[in-house]
Symmetry: C2
Subunit: 167 residues, 2 copies
């Protein structure tokens, strides 16, 4: 399983690609994509698509993980966030990757063992796991946490679904 975790946004998208073999966790790629607000919305959606598509192909991603989004103060921003999420659903379909979506509590639980963990606790945990990264400075806390949740919880969820359907 090679997983791409994404924390999408028009001003700032964090992403992380990782895999795990046995107890070896490998961070294959990570970064931040900023979309130039002077470009049209269509162009920005196109750039987001191409950026993620290129990485999915290069790293042979087999699953994409997202955190469930909730409505904030601005309904139109929430709708536009849907544009980027829709692109990830499309890419999952086109590249035969599984799309996994997790509630924020599930992400926190998977990463720290406690669903009510705050951002600082998650940062501390990630910093220990990846001492070579400056997690704080890179602002990749959410993207890495979503990726790890996909790596660790995704297979468990899949087995649960299989068991359920086998009954």
């Amino acid at each position: 399983m090679i997983i791409l975790g994404v924390d999408p946004g028009f001003s700032f998208t964090g992403y992380c690609i990782a895999s795990q073999q046995g107890s070896t966790l490998r961070l294959l790629d990570y970064g931040v994509l900023k979309l130039n607000p002077s470009k049209s919305l269509s162009e920005r959606v196109g750039i987001f698509h191409d950026h993620m598509a290129e990485r999915i192909v290069r790293h042979q991603v087999t699953a994409i993980a997202l955190e469930t989004s909730f409505l904030g103060k601005n309904a139109q921003s929430f709708l536009k966030l849907g544009y980027l999420r829709g692109i990830l659903y499309l890419l999952a379909d086109k590249h035969k990757a599984e799309l996994m979506e997790f509630a924020p509590r599930e992400v926190k639980m998977a990463v720290t063992g406690y669903g009510g963990a705050d951002k600082e606790q998650i940062k501390t945990f990630l910093q220990r796991l990846f001492p070579q990264l400056n997690v704080e400075k890179l602002d990749l806390t959410d993207a890495i946490a979503i990726t790890l949740c996909g790596l660790w919880k995704g297979p468990v969820d899949r087995r649960m679904r299989e068991l359920y359907h086998a009954r």
Copy 2:
């Protein structure tokens, strides 16, 4: 200008492709796309993408028109509507089509001359314009109205923008 007007939705998407030369309005294609809810969300997004992409290429669409969506009772449905809208923004970018978005009032105004028109008035108008169609039965009122708004108001908006930038 060959315009694709879309009224997107996971249960039901109405679309219409039209062009106008002089006073001759041509309806090139129209229809309804229903997505099978038993398929995964990624698959449905993929089917929506392919269906629209195929029509954009076949009819050499130069502009895509959408009506601005507003938050209804269900925020998660609103976010998912964003997935389909995002695909249309992507297709506009990939096929060098202009993406035009209109407020519901603008659509009503363009079609009936009155921004407060109700759905029945719009239906009556469209039925007169296209006597060969059963607008009511096809449930394409919104898609056709958005397409006509794009055909008639799109070029005016563009000239206004050009004038504004020329100053």
